[in-house]
Structure formats: structure tokens, C-alpha cells
Symmetry: C2
Subunit: 137 residues, 2 copies
Amino acid sequence: MLQSREKDLSEVLRHAGLRPTRQRVALAKLLFGSGDRHVTAEILHGEAVRSGQRVSLATVYNTLHQFKQAGLLREVAVCGQCAYFDTNISNHNHYFIESDGSLIDIPGSCIRVDGLPEPPEHLRISHIDVVVRLVKK
Amino acid sequence: MLQSREKDLSEVLRHAGLRPTRQRVALAKLLFGSGDRHVTAEILHGEAVRSGQRVSLATVYNTLHQFKQAGLLREVAVCGQCAYFDTNISNHNHYFIESDGSLIDIPGSCIRVDGLPEPPEHLRISHIDVVVRLVKK
DNA sequence: CTGTGTGCAAACTCTTTGCATAAGT
DNA sequence: ACTTATGCAAAGAGTTTGCACACAG
């Protein structure tokens, strides 16, 4: 069961044009093995190391960007100090909790953006990010 | 006329609890002297220096944060590599043009965010950022 | 005068890169 | 074997901080 999951991940990576190396498979398992996640490079590296994997932080950075380019991850611009990557690539938005820098998904269907003006000539909308910032009451 | 504008700016700064020093007044003039603006520290510093002011980059950073805390500016999280400050502090949103990293205001009335789920306990919404990312057609 | 602000350079954080080594196919 | 990925350490951007000097009130 676990073994077949690992094989699936290898297939996913291969299909994305990425060699399923030990590091990439390990990171993919952490990322996609348990529901939707929001991680920074630092967080993911910490998890990998704690789970006994030997991966360098530089490789985590590289891998996150490769996964993003392959469409397996989406980057979320929230705080400016660190890049968050989201394993949920479907249409949705985010609560951002300022006090601890954490993210919570908001289903895409919950928010409707209406009455947007026409974008300038020669440009098209690639994506609309809605970030709802939360602070303590 | 120009002199009275400068006096007004001094008053604004004083009212915000900030001494109207030469540097702060000069930066305020650049920021608030000509309609709504989106600047990074780097950009504003460049303008100040080019217009003959002696201001250090560190002071520009400090000043931008002081103005932000005083409610004269709003920070916009878009690209993650650099902090943008917006002189328009009313309710509005942004087009972000990925190719050159520039921002365009979208009037707040143009976008309606509907059907937001309740935020988690003990947290309240401080602000909703909508960033419409634009790419070349 | 007194306290606050400024400038400079150094420190710091997050991220990327170059190059020799290791691993996948 | 051949190619691509990895690790490390160094470099790089953007931002902040500490401290001596300068300036506003």
C-alpha cells in the first residue's frame, strides 16, 4: 500500500519530466501524502530531516520550484518574508493568520469576485489571489 | 503654494507623532505630492537622491514603516521579493503586472467579495487583499 | 540643552548559484 | 556510461540594526 503510493509518486514525477530521485520522492511524500498543505522551504526541510531523510535546504528550494513549474504546487504571496507553497492547486483562497503566519484554505466557491474592470491591452488575467488577513479580536 | 504644501505635510507628520525632519518631509512630498503611488524603498530612495536630497536607504526603510504605522501608507504583499507601499489607503485592490512588477489600482467598488466563511474563533478580519495577476496575452 | 532622527556599515534572513560529487536510467 | 540531481559553501537580494553624530524643538 505504502509501496504503491511511492510508485505512484515516482510516476507523477516522471510524468512531470522530473527524475524520481530519493530526495524528490521523499519531499513529494511529505507534501502530497496527507491532504492539503502549506509549507515554506524551511518547514519542509525540517520535516524531511526530522523524518530521517538527508536533504539539503538548497535541494528543497530547487525541488519546490521544480514542483511549482510542473504544476504540482502553487506559490502563495502573503507575508513577503518567506515563500509559501500550497499543495492545493484547485481554485481557492486563503485566510492568513498574521499572529503566527499560518494559512487556511477557503474553498473557491465561497468567494465571488464581481465587476472586475477590463485589464489593460495585451494583458490577460492569469490568476486572482484573495487573501483574507486575520488578527486577534 | 508649494511652501504651504510643505507646511501641510509638516503638520500631517507632526499629527502622526513624527518630527517633520528634512528627510521625512522630502519623502512625504515625493509620496503624497502627486496622486496615488506605489513604491518600493529602492524606488523612493532613487527618486529622492535624483531630486538632490541626501537620504540614506536605511532612513527610507525606516520612514516607510513609520508612515505605514501612522496610517499614511499601506503595504501591499505581491511579489515576495520586495515590499510595495501604496499611498492610496482607501478600500481598493490591485492589478499586478508580472512582467515588470508594477501595480495598478482597482477601485474598491469594482470588486465584491461574497460568501466568505466565518473566520476561526477569536480572530477577526483585518483586511482583504485582492491581487489580480496579469500576464502577456 | 535634551531627546529623537539619521547615516553608515555591519548583520541578518531568505534564497539562488557554481562546482565537484553522487545517483538515476 | 551518460546525464541529471545533489550538497555544500559562497554569493546575492532585500531589509534591519547598533552606534556615533546631527538636528528639531
